[in-house]
């Protein structure tokens, strides 16, 4: 492991050199594109230069789209012939991301590469090309509760970076990047991790959820408040659900595509079945389903919780529903306390 120090100008040149060999992705600001008028949108996007990397604000969308795009073609059809969709960009990708999101990828891996013993090849071919450049968090952002979720610390990175006012400190773990950073001044930098958040949640630690909790009145308030927009699902770095759809091209019914598109447990239709059956019609039931998956049943299957406490679901909810608060209500209800 080596560490180096750069001036901003020097780092910018290294960044450009990096961009010649790798596709670069990171949080980027899109002025005026925010949810409310006069606000900006920050999301993961290709980076052409160092100054496009947004470091002051959390990205509203997670980097999961790099491995799990919102709408991905899996097969092209010509008549009855199935052709696998090729990868549009064959380049290796460097992604600038924070510790919670690195831990988020671990959860995506669990579903796409481990669950059921099959590896999802569409996920894997993108995932294998990703290299994590971890941005050190000096302080936590609004709504973050990574410390409570134990995902404030990450070790699986190729390079760690500290962005100061006038310098960039770099720790290189993955040898393949050593050459690129060799021009820097030697340094003793090792990344620090956030050790406290303004928001704390109490994560229930139980093996079996008592049946009463499924029917608990704490879920009722979400029946009216949640509008099933699914933003909490789409922004979440660990939500993995999708639906499969076939289409044919209008000009020729012979050819078309099979696609998979993001779906979410808060959205209508997620469980609709033939015969008019569907489950979790009430929004509160959907909130319960998501919450238990994030902090209870995923752990039963994989040994650690799914939620990494990035707080994005709270950031994006148009109804100001707080997932963090919901977890606390579950914990309180489990203790038999007042769940309100």
């Amino acid at each position: 492991m080596y560490s180096f120090s750069f001036s901003l100008e020097e780092f910018s040149r290294v960044f450009d050199a990096l961009g010649e060999r790798y596709a670069l992705s990171g949080p980027r600001r899109f002025p005026g594109k925010g949810r409310f008028s006069g606000t900006d949108l920050v999301k993961y996007a290709p980076l052409a230069s160092f100054d496009e990397l947004e470091l002051d604000e959390k990205s509203g969308m997670s980097p999961k789209s790099l491995v799990f795009p919102p709408d991905e073609t899996t097969f092209y059809f010509n008549g009855d012939e199935f052709t696998e969709a090729p990868l549009e960009d064959e380049r290796e990708t460097v992604v600038f991301l924070r510790p919670c999101d690195i831990n988020g990828f671990r959860r995506l891996d669990a579903i796409f590469l481990e669950n059921g013993g099959t590896k999802d090849p569409y996920y894997m071919r993108r995932r294998e090309k990703l290299h994590f450049f971890m941005i050190e968090c000096a302080t936590s952002f609004e709504n973050c509760f990574c410390v409570s979720m134990g995902s404030n610390v990450a070790g699986e990175y190729a390079v760690a970076l500290r962005f100061d006012q006038d310098s960039v400190l770099v720790q290189v773990k993955d040898e393949r990047f050593a050459g690129l950073f060799a021009s820097g001044a030697p340094s003793a930098f090792t990344p620090e991790f956030v050790r406290e958040n303004a928001r704390n949640v109490e994560v229930p630690d139980i093996d079996e959820m008592p049946p009463e909790l499924f029917l608990h009145p704490l879920w009722d308030e979400y029946d009216a408040r949640c509008i099933a927009c699914g933003r909490c699902n789409t922004s979440c770095v660990t939500c993995t659900c999708f639906s499969t759809r076939d289409i044919f091209y209008a000009d020729s019914r012979r050819s078309g595509e099979r696609r998979r598109v993001w779906d979410g447990c808060h959205l209508d239709g997620f469980t609709d079945m033939a015969g008019g059956y569907s489950f979790r019609k009430k929004k509160g039931e959907r909130m319960r389903f998501k919450t238990f998956h994030k902090i209870y049943d995923f752990k039963k299957r994989f040994g650690y919780n799914m939620c990494v406490g990035c707080g994005r679901c709270d950031d994006v909810c148009p109804e100001y529903i707080s997932f963090a608060e919901c977890i606390n209500k579950v914990a309180a209800a489990l203790k038999g306390g007042d769940a309100k």
Partner: protein, 264 residues
């Protein structure tokens, strides 16, 4: 891609049999090992993909009994012999054949729920699933909605088969009433020595299992098969998850003692 579990293989239709006005059984040529209770992801390019249970199989053929209710299943109804289905699988856990072998097997099926249990009945008939005794209660809405009607007499050679329709109907001289009533009337010598299979629409399963419990059959001896919306069959798409169980991986067949704890 070296391995793509989403890529289906073509299976040529060798036979089509109409069961009702909207249900039909397709026989396709395919040599794949499988178990009763498992399912395939069946698709037609440009139309869609859906899970369909195995309703019968042999060394080089599979049967699917389909109800036309939507985009894919309507298109399947249009197919002719010689055309291809595209299938991948089999998926899921099948029925526990080791437990059923040599048992007193009782099967209650409602409507399209008869499709996944049919291979069990056929196994008992052809000796691949030897049982001590076989009892079947199959319930349908009306005499027009019977599935596998031409096989009932053959089934009766091996066991006691009761086919009931929901309400008495002109031209039907067999039993009527919901399957629950007929479960209630069952006489079991030793309820703890019966393996009970219950498959059908969600509401039917709920009430039928309650009746079976009242007969004194232990929860561990009751087997159900779940149906949920599915988009992958591989534990990836998340649609079929209940609690920590994925119906496509850990089911669709569950022991009732496990299924009872799964709250949607």
């Amino acid at each position: 891609m070296k391995e793509n579990p989403y890529r289906p293989f073509p299976a040529t239709i060798t036979g089509i049999k109409a069961e009702t006005d909207c249900e039909f059984t397709l026989t396709v040529a395919a040599s794949v090992a499988m178990m009763p209770g498992q399912f395939f992801q069946v698709s037609l390019p440009k139309i869609g993909e859906a899970p369909i249970s195995i309703s019968g199989f042999g060394p080089d053929w599979i049967q699917f009994t389909v109800r036309a209710v939507g985009r894919l299943t309507n298109a399947l109804q249009e197919l002719r012999t010689g055309e291809n289905l595209f299938i991948r699988g089999p998926y899921g856990t099948g029925f526990p054949l080791d437990t059923f072998r040599g048992s007193n097997l009782a099967i209650v099926a409602g409507g399209s729920g008869t499709a996944p249990v049919r291979p069990l009945i056929r196994g008992a008939l052809d000796g691949t699933l030897p049982v001590r005794s076989l009892r079947v209660i199959a319930g349908f809405k009306s005499k027009e909605s019977l599935l596998f009607a031409d096989e009932f007499d053959e089934w009766r050679k091996k066991g006691e088969v009761l086919v009931t329709i929901d309400k008495p109907q002109e031209g039907w001289d067999g039993p009527s009433g919901l399957v629950t009533e007929h479960i209630r009337a069952m006489k079991l010598d030793d309820p703890a020595d019966v393996q009970f299979v219950v498959v059908g629409p969600p509401v039917m399963m709920k009430f039928a299992v309650a009746e079976v419990r009242l007969l004194g059959v232990p929860e561990d001896n009751i087997w159900v098969s779940f149906e949920r919306l599915m988009s992958c069959g591989l534990g990836k798409c998340g649609h079929c998850k209940i609690d920590s169980a994925y119906i496509c991986l850990d089911g669709p067949v569950f022991r009732f003692s496990r299924a009872a704890g799964l709250i949607d």
